[in-house]
Amino acid sequence: MRISRAFASSIVLAMACVTDRAFADPVTITDQAGRTVTLNEPAERVVTIPMPMASTVIAIDGGPDRLVGMNPLSKTAILEGILGKIFPEAKDISSDVTAPNFIPNIEELAATNPELVVQWADYGADLVDPITNAGLNVVLISYGTEEKTKAYHQIVADAIGKPERAAAINSWRDTVAAEMREKTKDLADDQRPKVLYLGRAMENLTASGTKGNYNAWYIDLAGGVNASADVEGNGTTISPEQIAAWDPDVILLNSFEPQLGIDRIYNDPILSLTKAAQEKKVYKMPLGGYRWDPPSQESPLTWMWLGNLLHPEIFNYDLRAEMKKAYKTIYDYELTDEDIDGILWTEMQGDAPNYAQFKAN
């Protein structure tokens, strides 16, 4: 009796699935490794292995409902940041699907029953083949430039059947980038402050060259010039003496190192003598739904923040209003003034030059 009822209900369930699938169109995606992936229907269950992609999926979808697995470090970042407040249910999402270093745990991954797995395109086949061998759908994404960011937004949006969401976010990016570019393109070299972005600053100091460096891209967009342009490669260790030789006008500190504050620069015997420190123009990058230093769904806010800081005579974005608008659109969340102060580190750097404009009225 019990068996036959279970059987009957499973038939009903199967038929429901069949009819459901019959209505949905298959989705074909070309990912950033040039692979073609076809899904029978938009993915309802998504696992993200690259760190920034969990918050990307949440942003594109407007919530974490489809996210069934993510990198443990994505989860820590979400729970510790504003997204954990907006979406407290994210704490129940599995983070056993991958090690922090992107090596997937195939059995844990399969156990989440994902319809789509998002993985890096750039780290070799060993991180990808085990997933495809398990019969799962994988799209590969690549990171680091504005073009790549817009492309993976579109890929994720197509895969979950919400292409219009990526179109909206990407057109916001294009609009802001174009209007900022228009205002800074004619700046002479001597009007562009030398901006040094420190990717690491606690134990060793790292900086990046300009090629393929997203920070350098938006420093240029905001009307600055990358102070570490003569470094080869990204995230390269440099000496304090080298920073003294560059003598940057502005120093940006990464948002990755939790203990890193602007005092790190002011307490350093060498760095505190740079022009940036002497003029107190040392700022820590904000930490919103994702870190503002690398590309993310919130990048245009980063550009506005930096533009207002570097050129208050050119840019006068109402950043608090822009943030509220963006968070409403992206996460359907009403950002409070306390939230904004937390994201912008107002308590720590509210008294720095040009920072008063970001304070609540």
Partner: protein, 350 residues
């Protein structure tokens, strides 16, 4: 006294040997002067002399100008730390080779470097820098040595071969622990720090760090320096040494402790800088011969010179800091290969 004389025939410092040491000392001074004056931030030579003189006359004054701070707070402690570490690593290598009667051993074979590397990596994983890192690196370096000692002691005696094998076992164990730390480290924050630190660098040198490094290295250097006469005896077979009234077991361990003090400290302040303990004693042997009474001080001077010079290259060649361990290996491996060939050619001829 006569016993010692039998083991290592008394030889007076000849004029030639004095000349060799004079040249080594001059080379070290030249390397340090070169290191002080080279850097990415350009400071003219007259200005360097002026700043150094002023600092020597009034050591308590706080430097205010950027060039003063770079010379006195960045370059000077870094050059001194590199020189001290170079001396310690080279002397450690020379002593170890004497004890094991094998020119191919280095502090790595006792597992000390790996132990210290694990301690440091663990500190970085937990988000600690500075003193905690130093303490953990030193602690695990010493722990590795104690474990080797416990493992190698069989029936109340410690044979050289069991020490080497135990060192390999403990080294492999800590090597695996380092891999685990790297595996679970956050690729966004701690992993790059761990990887860079393991490659070795003096880029974080400060006076405070130099102050932390001095006790361990000075004590280690002093022990080996005082034992340099006994090292010639320890290089004999155990039975011969015993018949000459030496307890080789005890003195060997004293040497090991001194080496772990120096290696643990150097790993703690600068990460893994390999090859110094292998290349430098070889070069020193070519210059002054096998007698440890002169080999130890010669290794110290040569090691200090060599590491000062290589570290200067590491920080000045490009805008980026080249990892020191990579440079010492790139230079060390081929040089060591050539020295080995020369060594065996001469051995075959004899």
């Amino acid at each position: 006294m006569s016993v010692v004389a039998t083991a290592a025939p008394e030889r007076r410092f000849s004029a030639l040997r004095l000349g060799t040491f004079g040249a080594l000392l001059l080379a070290l001074l030249a390397a340090m002067l070169f290191a002080i004056s080279a850097g990415r931030f350009s400071v003219s030579i007259p200005r360097i002399v002026e700043v150094l003189m002023a600092a020597a006359l009034d050591p308590g004054a706080t430097p205010a100008q950027m060039d003063e701070r770079i010379l006195l707070l960045v370059r000077l402690p870094r050059v001194l730390l590199a020189a001290l570490s170079g001396a310690a690593l080279a002397v450690g290598g020379a002593a170890l080779q004497g004890v094991f009667r094998n020119p191919l051993v280095s502090p790595q074979v006792l597992g000390i470097s790996q132990g210290a590397a694990f301690g440091g990596a663990l500190a970085l994983l937990l988000g600690y820098h500075g003193v905690v890192l130093l303490g953990l690196a030193f602690f695990f370096g010493l722990a590795a040595l104690v474990m080797v000692g416990a493992l190698a002691r069989i029936n109340g005696r410690t044979e050289v071969i069991t020490v080497i094998l135990s060192g390999m076992v403990i080294g492999a164990l800590f090597g695996a622990l380092v891999s685990i730390v790297q595996f679970i480290a956050d690729p966004n924050t701690s992993l790059p720090a761990i990887v860079y630190w393991l490659m070795g660098s003096f880029s974080t040198a400060t006076w405070a760090r130099l102050g932390l490094a001095i006790p361990g290295m000075a004590i280690g250097l002093a022990i080996i320096f005082l034992l340099r006469y006994r090292l010639n005896l320890l290089a004999l077979e155990d039975s011969e040494a015993r018949s000459l009234g030496v307890n080789p077991d005890k003195e060997r361990w004293l040497v090991f402790i001194a080496i772990s003090l120096m290696t643990g400290t150097s790993v703690a302040v600068a990460g893994i800088v390999g090859w110094i303990g292998l290349v430098v004693p070889h070069a020193a042997r070519i210059l002054v011969g096998e007698d440890h009474r002169v080999l130890i001080p010669a290794s110290a001077l040569l090691g200090a010179t060599y590491l000062t010079f290589v570290d200067t290259l590491a920080r000045t060649l490009t805008a980026a800091e080249i990892p020191l361990g990579v440079l010492t290996a790139l230079i060390g491996a081929p040089v060591f290969g050539l020295l080995l060939r020369r060594h065996f050619k001469e051995a075959n001829r004899a």
